[in-house]
Each structure stands twice: as structure tokens, then as C-alpha cells.
């Protein structure tokens, strides 16, 4: 592959739209060509900046309320035969456990998902980057609780860094992983004494897939731009219910 061919392939490469064969060709070229490497790295960093900045734009609270109201109104008016009933209560309870209503009704400060998404979006500020051994060395010194690496080693998934922080007032460790060029992060904290049991759940927020699941005394929230299927392969523990 020549440099000018790479220029044409770069968008498809970074967009994840290349077939394996072409991908390998691009990567081989990048390894051997410093000019192209700098080009691709620069472009990919710019995209990360763009994405991170733009994802911080969110729907105003008033809009969220208006939409919720409108939808409620529509449901009432279009379903005269259907009255709020036990079924309705059950549906709401079901959603509260499985999905977004929990975000809407949970006191914001205690919602583990909201914090984890923000942490993921801001995860450029890793305290340390390095391989598994380096991360472990760092965490042995700094982790605020007895941490456990959340994702088992496997092909195509690499631990690339971590930081110790607080999410929603709780001490937490945020791990960052590279899954074949796509970054995802896992926030981990200890389940507070006397806290309600955490149910595994899968959400989608801001284009991220968010999987929350308890694991032997710790809560983990995976946030990544990954399809659900891939998330379930990475953390089968989240799908044991």
C-alpha cells in the first residue's frame, strides 16, 4: 500500500468500515511509515476531542419533561380502554429495574450510570497509562479498596490505563480498555454498607452502551461505544439473570 492509498482508506479505517484484510494492510503500512502514523494518530485524536466536546451537549431538563408529558398524554388519549392498573404499575417497576426510568427517578447523586458515563467521556485524564502489570503496580499503591481487574485477559482486549477517582461521592477505580481500537471503560466501586441490591442492567446513553452489574461485593459499570452483543461477550457476568 502506498501513502496516497492510505489517505483514501484512512476514513474507512477509523470508521471501522474496512474488511479484516484491508485493515491489516492499513495497519502494516502505518507500522512502517512514520508520516502516515502521525497522520492517522492525529486524526484519531482530533475525532476523540470532537466527540468528547460534542457529547457534552445534552437535552435541557425542560425538554425532557415536555417529551415525557407529551408521551404520557398521548398514551392516555389513545388508549381509552386501558386504564392505569396493576399492569401499569408492574410495567413501571419493570422499567425501573431494567432501564432508563431508574435514571430519571434515582436521586442523581446515587445514580451509578450517570457518573460512569461522564467518567468515560472524560477518560482522557488517565492517571496512568500502561499495560496490565503497570496498572496493577499502580493500583496496589493507590486503589481505595481491594480492587479486582474487571475484565479477564483475552485476545483483542487490552488494559491500557486506570485512574483512582470519586464517582457520586464514592471512591472508585476507572479502568480503560482497548478492544481492537475501540475504547471502553469500567468504573468499579464497593457496594456501600446497607445499600439495596444492585440488579444487572443494560442502558444506552449518549450513544454508549452501559452495562451495570454487581460482582462479589463490587459494582461495575462498563461504558463503551460497543454493540450489546460485544458487551455481553466482554462481561458475561452481566447477563447471568
Amino acid at each position: 500500500m502506498e501513502c496516497d492509498v492510505l489517505s483514501r482508506y484512512m476514513d474507512l479505517y477509523l470508521d471501522g468500515e474496512l474488511a479484516v484484510q484491508e485493515r491489516v494492510e492499513v495497519e502494516t503500512h502505518i507500522r512502517g511509515c512514520e508520516g502516515c502514523r502521525r497522520f492517522v494518530t492525529g486524526e484519531s485524536r482530533f475525532r476523540a476531542v470532537l466527540r468528547q466536546q460534542m457529547l457534552a451537549v445534552r437535552a435541557p431538563g425542560s425538554l425532557r419533561d415536555q417529551v415525557t408529558e407529551k408521551l404520557k398524554g398521548h398514551r392516555r388519549s389513545s388508549t381509552p380502554a386501558w386504564r392505569p392498573s396493576i399492569a401499569y404499575a408492574a410495567a413501571v417497576a419493570g422499567v425501573a429495574i431494567l432501564g432508563y426510568l431508574v435514571i430519571a427517578t434515582y436521586p442523581k447523586a446515587q445514580d451509578p450510570v450517570a457518573g460512569a458515563v461522564a467518567a468515560h467521556v472524560a477518560s482522557t485524564g488517565l492517571e496512568m497509562s500502561g499495560d496490565r502489570d503497570q496498572v496493577e503496580t499502580f493500583l496496589r499503591l493507590h486503589a481505595p479498596f481491594s480492587y479486582r481487574l474487571p475484565v479477564a485477559d483475552r485476545e483483542g482486549i487490552r488494559l491500557v490505563g486506570a485512574r483512582v477517582t470519586r464517582l457520586n461521592g464514592l471512591p472508585a477505580v476507572v479502568y480503560q480498555y482497548d478492544a481492537g481500537g475501540k475504547m471502553f471503560s469500567v468504573a468499579q466501586y464497593r457496594i456501600p454498607e446497607g445499600a439495596a441490591e444492585v440488579q444487572p442492567r443494560l442502558d444506552h446513553q449518549d450513544g454508549f452502551t452501559v452495562a451495570t452489574y454487581p460482582d462479589r461485593g463490587l459494582i461495575q459499570t462498563l461504558v463503551g461505544d460497543l454493540p450489546d452483543g460485544e458487551v455481553s461477550r466482554i462481561v458475561p457476568a452481566a447477563w447471568t439473570y
Binding site: 501513502c3 492525529g42 482530533f46 475525532r47 460534542m54 425538554l63 417529551v67 422499567v95
Partner: protein, 214 residues
Amino acid sequence: MGLWPIGGRAREATRFDREAMPHLDAAYRFALSMTRDAAEADDLVQETFLKALRSFESFQEGTNCKAWLFRILRNTWFNKLRNGAREVDSDDAMEAIQDAALAGWDDRAFYRAPDEASILRATRDELESALRSLPPDFREAVVMSDVEGLTYKEIADVMGTPIGTVMSRLYRGRRLMRRRLAKAMGIDEVEEEAGGEVVQLFAARSKGEGGHGM
């Protein structure tokens, strides 16, 4: 799932809450990028979600709900535009302008400069106005891909165009955006020439760096 027996209507409503509502922020961002106006974006999102709920049966489980919402949103917006007889730039005319603007442009030059002097330090305002400056079709494609992470196929479905068109809009849109961004940040040098604008980013620095090896 299915922890309780749930009636059909209620289940549909639950499914909508679970599938569509998490994309409210994304829908708002997309609406903003299309309308470039907060109040219009507000209206557009409300209308979109109402329509989406009404037609939720047509949503195919397992496909990208965000893309489905974007399609409804975009169609709704264009209907409004048509009713209000607002002007929309024609694609062909815009492409001609873009090609002229991109002529002689070397996009590798962006990343030759040290970080502090590059578009990597752009603020949100600068990024937003560079996006806003793009022709609508380019802007939409760039937002859907770079910000919202849709695949080419999903973007093609939203815009109702072949994948090749998506790729070319992305290619042009991205480069034009970076160029305008650099210009706004004062990190390129623009020279007016008889034939139009010729942009030379870090002209002096990049001399002699023309070849990239291999």
C-alpha cells in the same frame, strides 16, 4: 426480562421508554445541528418523539433505534422546511464550492504541527461553529458519524442515499470542517491567488516534507 406479566399496550410503552428515550440527548444534538436554533430543536425533538411513539410498531427490534429516530427527525424537519418555503442549498452547487475550497489542500498538514499549535486544542465553541458552517448534508453526515457513531449503512438509511454518497459527504465534510476550524483558530495561512484561494498550512514548515516515504 419479563419479570412481571405485562399487557400489550403497557409493554409497548415500556419498550419505547427503554429503546427510544435513552436517545433523547442524541436526538437533541442532531436537531440542533440541523436547525442551528435551540427553540426549533426543542420543537423538533418533541414532534419526533411523538411520531416515534405512534409508529413504534414499525421499529425493527435489533436495529439501531437512534438511527431510526434520526430518520424521523430529519424527515420531520424537511417537511417543515418545505412548508415554510425556506431555502435549502442545492447539493450540486455546494459540492462545486467545496471542491474549489478544498483544492490544493493537504490535510496531513493538520497534524504536522506540534499539539499546542493544532486543531487538537479547539474549544467546544470553535468546534461547534466549524460544524455549523458546513452545508447541511455534510454537517449531518459528519455529526452522525463522528459524534453519534452511526455506521455508513445507518447514515445512508437516515439520509436515504447510497453508501457511496455518505462516504463522499463525510470525506468532504470532514476536511472542510478541519480547514475552517484551522482558519478560525488562526493556525493556517491563506493566500489569495488568481484562481481562488490556495491554502498553505504551515507552508514553510511543510516544505521538504512533501514525500511520506514508501
